[in-house]
């Protein structure tokens, strides 16, 4: 089980609390987490990454264990504590006014 923190806009869209959990098969990567998240909440498709290219949307960032994972490969293994559900993967809306 992996814990995922969602930004407010996406909580409202998906009708969830601030944190959701997903189950993944295989290595715990951002790509695997997003695949599971979008399967569980189809309305989130396209809101975090492009639906065709899977490129991260420009104003979305990924944090884990107080590190910025936004520019890491989405196939890189997440820290063990995230994979074990002890720490969440944070999906953050960039500070861009509004």
């Amino acid at each position: 089980m992996i814990r995922v923190m969602l930004p407010a806009h996406l909580r409202n869209l998906a009708g969830t609390g601030s944190e959701v959990t997903v189950e993944i098969q295989g290595p715990a990567t951002i790509a695997a987490v997003l695949d599971a998240l979008e399967a569980q909440y189809p309305m989130l498709c396209g809101t975090i990454r492009d639906q065709v290219t899977h490129e991260r949307r420009a104003f979305v960032r990924f944090f884990a264990c107080e590190e910025d994972w936004s520019h890491e490969s989405t196939d890189k293994a997440l820290p063990d504590v995230v994979a074990q559900g002890k720490e969440p993967l944070l999906i953050i809306g960039a500070i861009a006014g509004g």
């Binding site: 309305m43 396209g46 639906q51 949307r57 960039a94």
Partner: protein, 371 residues
């Protein structure tokens, strides 16, 4: 008993205003999708309880919402808008080539005959259509394939396809307009398109009378007169009597012919409404007085309508999709402002009242007349 439902898209969510046919007491519900930009909402003429909403943010892109119960509850639909083939480039603001990129839906136009068929005008400009209620979207790529796409350029708000008019007398005829490319028409259901900008003149173009490149802000048509079109261009209010083949200016005695929105009276095809805005650099009413102008002669001669509207220190804007009419007798006129007011007139514009004072900036208004 008849009633009216006003669909208000704002910078921070959607609102639904409802009244009975007297149009005196209004109930406001919302915000729906709080915090998201709602560029447009529109109901199906076939099934008024079926409403489509365009929801977006710069952070998370486009979401399509659908209601089957008149806006009480909503369901996210498919938001996958993929251009047909290799999209190529359009002009950037400085004239350099810029890749075509999907950003958002500016306008939904539900079919006149099928509640599951909806046209979507998007930025960067293209026309999409669903025939399954929003489950899938396919581009009508003949529009971009017309060949002039590389010469289209964004207006200040982006390269948006903002106007879609379905001809009730000819199901294969559709009009669309793009800022800043101009107006286009198909006569074969969207397979092929032609620019219809003859008569427009835009001094910001190297060739002011070019085939494309005009910043058309909005176009309106009365359903009983499908060959007659009215246009609010960046500057100039225009009219065509031959389905857009030729345009002539009808700005007449307007205090300024810059503006964004316009609409046509529900029962009088020659009665037209505009909201003059001071200039392209000063997006507020001239003299700080919010006035709707009405022509009962299809243009050229205009009268100010100000009863009930602020006549001092008013510096709001009225955006292109932020005016609509109901079809009650007498015709109701509605518009929203960037200051968050929604104004309505139940007497064809003679007098106005504010239905709401303090909403977020209004991006769009649509009206449903309920039987």
């Amino acid at each position: 008993m008849s009633g009216v439902r006003v669909l208000v898209g704002t910078r921070k969510g959607a609102f639904v205003l409802e009244a009975d046919g007297k149009r005196e007491k209004w109930d406001i519900s919302g915000p729906f999708f709080g915090g998201w930009e709602i560029y447009h909402m529109k109901g199906s003429p076939v099934d008024p309880n079926r409403i489509y909403a365009s929801q977006s943010t710069g952070w998370h892109g486009q979401v399509v919402q659908r209601s089957n119960d008149g806006g009480k509850t909503w369901e996210p639909m498919n938001n996958k808008f993929v251009y047909d083939g290799v999209p190529g480039t359009h002009q950037w603001y400085d004239g350099t080539p810029h890749p075509w990129e999907f950003k958002r839906v500016w306008h939904f136009e539900p079919s006149l005959t099928d509640a599951d068929t909806v046209y979507a005008g998007v930025e960067d400009a293209a026309l999409f259509r669903t025939t399954d209620g929003g489950t899938t979207w396919l581009e009508l790529s003949g529009l971009r394939g017309h060949g002039s796409g590389p010469r289209w350029q964004p207006g200040a708000g982006g390269l948006g396809l903002h106007t879609i008019i379905l001809d009730p007398s000819d199901p294969k005829r559709i009009y669309i307009a793009i800022s800043a490319a101009g107006a286009f028409r198909t006569d074969d259901g969207g397979e092929s398109w032609k620019p219809i900008n003859k008569g427009l003149s835009s001094p910001y173009l190297p060739d002011p009378t070019a085939e494309v490149g005009h910043c058309v802000h909005h176009v309106a048509m009365h359903p009983a007169r499908p060959g007659v079109l009215f246009m609010q261009k960046h500057w100039d209010v225009m009219r065509s009597d031959d389905a857009g083949d030729n345009w002539r200016e009808v700005s007449g005695n307007l205090p300024t012919d810059f503006g964004f929105t316009l609409d046509v009276h529900a029962h009088e095809p020659e009665t037209v409404y505009v909201v003059p805005i001071k200039s392209d650099s000063e997006h507020y009413p001239p003299e700080g007085k919010l006035r709707v102008y009405r022509s009962r002669s299809g243009g050229d001669e205009w009268e100010p309508l100000s009863k009930g509207l602020p006549q001092s220190d008013c510096y709001v804007d009225v955006l292109r999709d932020a005016m609509a009419v109901d079809s009650l007798d007498s015709c109701g006129i509605y518009f929203g402002t960037t200051g968050g007011q929604v104004y309505a007139s139940a007497d064809s514009g003679d007098s106005w009242t504010a239905l709401a004072h303090d909403l977020p900036a209004v991006l769009s208004i649509e009206v449903q007349t309920l039987k």
